[in-house]
């Protein structure tokens, strides 16, 4: 039987007031919290481990294990910080989740905070989505009013405050230690690890940093059981996740499915490729994950299978490009992005992305020089693994994978501009409006 969708976090997004506490409570909302507050904290951490839930923010680190890394309580504060700085190109799951059903996150944060012994939790939301910030502030306010936040939550003796914090525009703040520096009121630059945030995080105190979707998955896991969750997905990539399809498919959107579904199945659900065109290349998990081609349509989208084929599951950000698209142009634009967003702390990333951008630009313009392709590979080799965080590594992924699969297009960049090979008006959403049939 082919894979079916599993609407859990996305189940009631079409309710006319999906974001309110009342709607959430009509859909099992805060039932898990009641159960959790009657459970020893250590059992909740164990349940998270047993579920096999792996971080939904890209790296896929086991969530329960991350909680378990906190040192024993020393009487001082411990923090939970939710990473809602969704900015990876192609990634668009947390923002609609928070717009449509923010209480999944709030309930998940209360349960998680109780499990790890935290009394003040933070949501770091990217600043460029003002209506989502309104919805989050409103959800937190409703939760306080209902007694799900504040002092002595539901008579349990457990106290929790949540602060919703808006960032100010910086991709790097999605990196967990840069996020913590930013939340402390500094430039968002990554820290050298170790120490990891579990030992010295926010204000140098033990801190858990988790992605929105990871924490939002906690209430269903607590309510229905770790086994219910781990029965979905594959053996090592358990559970469900939101798959975000964008680009040249007929019905781009959010598709919540067990891990291990394939792109072929998802494109079928999304109504096929636009105009029946051929799939040319795609990203399995955002622009920082090496490109795949139509040869990878049947790769199960779980952490292990995608890694085995040389890429990463990342955030399940499936950006789909058809045969009208110039891969050199696409990669060049991503390279601009990394050069712009490099925070400047580590030399290989700061300087390397700058020079990658110059070379990609001349290849795009059909003015590439002999040796440019080798030079790209060489610069990438000098960035990869040589910076504090993964931004520099991410910058190399689209370039090295595109050269691997589409070298002839880079060679064409020695003499022919991309827009002559791939007229851009054929790729747009409104291509029908501007082109005669």
């Amino acid at each position: 039987m082919s894979t079916q969708l599993t609407p859990i976090l996305t189940k009631f997004w079409d309710h006319p007031q999906s974001w309110t506490l009342a709607t959430y409570e009509d859909n099992e909302g805060y039932q898990a919290l009641r159960q959790a507050l009657d459970t020893p904290a250590a059992d909740l951490v164990q349940a998270a481990k047993d579920s096999g839930l792996r971080g939904r923010g890209g790296a896929g680190f086991p969530t329960g294990m991350k909680w378990g890394f906190l040192p024993p309580p020393d009487g001082g504060p411990r923090y939970l910080v939710v990473n809602a700085d969704e900015s990876e190109p192609g990634t668009c799951k947390d923002i609609p989740l928070l717009m449509a059903a923010p209480h999944f996150l709030v309930e998940g944060m209360v349960i998680t905070s109780y499990a790890i012994g935290c009394n003040h939790a933070f949501i770091y939301l990217r600043g460029e989505v003002v209506h989502v910030y309104r919805r989050l502030m409103r959800a937190v306010e409703e939760a306080y009013a209902a007694g799900y936040l504040g002092k002595n939550i539901m008579g349990s003796g457990f106290d929790l405050d949540i602060t919703v914090h808006a960032g100010a525009g910086a991709y790097i703040c999605g990196e967990e230690t840069a996020l913590l520096d930013s939340l402390e009121g500094r430039r968002g630059q990554p820290r050298l690890k170790p120490p990891f945030p579990a030992v010295a995080g926010l204000y140098a105190r033990p801190t858990v940093v988790n992605n929105v979707e990871s924490i939002a998955s906690i209430p269903p896991i607590v309510l229905h059981g770790a086994e219910w969750f781990s029965d979905m997905g594959t053996e090592k990539s358990t559970g469900f996740g939101i798959f975000s399809l964008s680009g040249h498919v007929n019905r781009p959107g959010q598709y919540e499915a067990p891990l291990g579904i394939t792109l072929r199945e998802l494109i079928d659900m999304a109504g096929g490729m636009r105009n029946g065109n051929r799939l040319k290349f795609w990203t399995p998990g955002g622009s920082s994950t090496p490109l795949f081609t139509d040869a990878h349509l049947d790769v199960p989208l779980d952490f292990e299978s995608v890694a085995k084929e040389g890429s990463m599951l990342g955030t399940r950000a499936l950006q789909i490009f058809d045969e009208t698209t110039s891969v050199v142009h696409a990669v060049s634009r991503w390279t601009d992005f990394y050069a712009h967003e490099s925070c400047g702390k580590c030399t290989p990333c700061r300087e390397g992305t700058y020079w990658l951008k110059q070379i990609m630009k001349r290849l795009e313009d059909g003015k590439g020089l002999p040796g440019d392709i080798e030079k790209l590979d060489d610069i990438c080799d000098n960035i990869l693994g040589r910076a504090f965080c993964a931004l520099g590594d991410g910058a190399t992924s689209p370039i090295t994978s595109a050269i691997q699969y589409f070298r002839e297009e880079f060679e064409a960049g020695m003499h022919t501009p991309w827009f002559e090979l791939f007229p851009p008006e054929r790729s747009t959403l409104f291509a029908k409006e501007t082109l005669p049939a």
Partner: protein, 298 residues
């Protein structure tokens, strides 16, 4: 910028070809306005700053929201705003400027009433964002990070704004305008310049001004959270397909707990009204135009 020319040793100066294009995000210096705040403005700023500081265990954490607050008054990051933040948080002005110049949402020169940002990251660019930006730029007569002479519109190129399934995307004061075309985007800016109310695709019932939105981003709700849709068309496609096909998440085999949706004692003792507007305004917040009733806001 110092660049070694002619590194290929073939006598051709490539400086022109490599740098003929202006950089994606040109840097501009901070324009320092040192004119002091009026007494009443300063008093309000101090009250707001105290409310922001109270949200955090350590007060330096208040800096990002306070810079949004400065923009809600001045329309950009001014010298006096930098001084104000430094005094309130016991930082040096260099520390505050260092933060203010790191983040792209902090503006270095007076911003228009509406920031119009077109996503030109790869996916949106290919889906039409480049054409939209170029046509808007011609239509408005301004380039990236430039403001129209009437002070209404500041045009920007944006990086990915997490709405790729709605590509190509345009943001106006950080509200979503999905699935844009060159024509639709030009209509939006024309209507904004004419002073009309314009509704985003997913967001409040109309786009608020840059200063208004900056105040929200400082953490002061404006009562508009319950306006607009929960999810747009693309966001719902998986949800609706599953329902149409009868696909659901597996059952857990457990007995569902008794449903209890009664308000807790804490809530009954003077909590907020659920789903109403009366409850959402933090002290010190005076939104410029709240809807009169809940129905008006729908």
């Amino acid at each position: 910028m110092t660049v070694a020319h002619n590194t290929q040793g073939d006598g051709v100066d490539r400086h022109e070809t490599m740098f003929a294009e202006s950089p994606l995000h040109p840097q501009a210096p901070l324009q320092a306005s040192e004119e002091p705040y009026a007494a009443d403005v300063l008093e309000q700023l101090e009250a707001d700053a105290a409310a922001i500081v109270a949200r955090y265990p350590q007060k330096r954490s208040a800096l990002l929201p306070m810079l949004h607050l400065v923009q809600s008054v001045d329309g950009y990051i001014t010298g006096r705003g930098v001084h104000f933040c430094a005094e309130q948080l016991e930082l040096t002005t260099a520390e505050v400027s260092g933060v203010a110049t790191f983040y792209t949402q902090y503006k270095r020169h007076p911003n228009g009433d509406y920031s119009v940002g077109v996503c030109t990251n790869t996916l949106c660019a290919i889906m039409g964002g480049d054409q939209i930006f170029d046509e808007l730029s011609d239509h408005l007569g301004v380039g990236h990070d430039e403001t129209t002479e009437d002070g209404k519109i500041t045009l920007e190129r944006l990086e990915c704004n997490a709405a790729c399934d709605f590509a190509p995307v345009m943001m106006v004061n950080w509200e979503f305008f999905d699935n844009q075309t060159p024509e639709s985007s030009k209509q939006v800016v024309d209507r904004l310049r004419a002073g009309e109310q314009v509704a985003p695709t997913r967001g409040a019932s109309r786009v608020c001004t840059f200063k208004h939105v900056s105040r929200v981003l400082a953490g002061f709700p404006d009562g508009l959270a319950d306006e607009g849709v929960g999810a747009g068309e693309a966001s719902l496609r998986g949800t609706l397909l599953a329902r149409e096909q009868g696909w659901t998440a597996p059952a857990d085999g457990r007995t569902p707990p008794a449903t209890d949706t009664e308000a807790t004692p804490q809530a009954q003792g003077g909590g907020v009204e659920r789903g109403g507007y009366g409850s959402v305004n933090a002290p010190g917040n005076e939104p410029d135009d709240l809807p009169e009733t809940k129905e008006d806001g729908q």
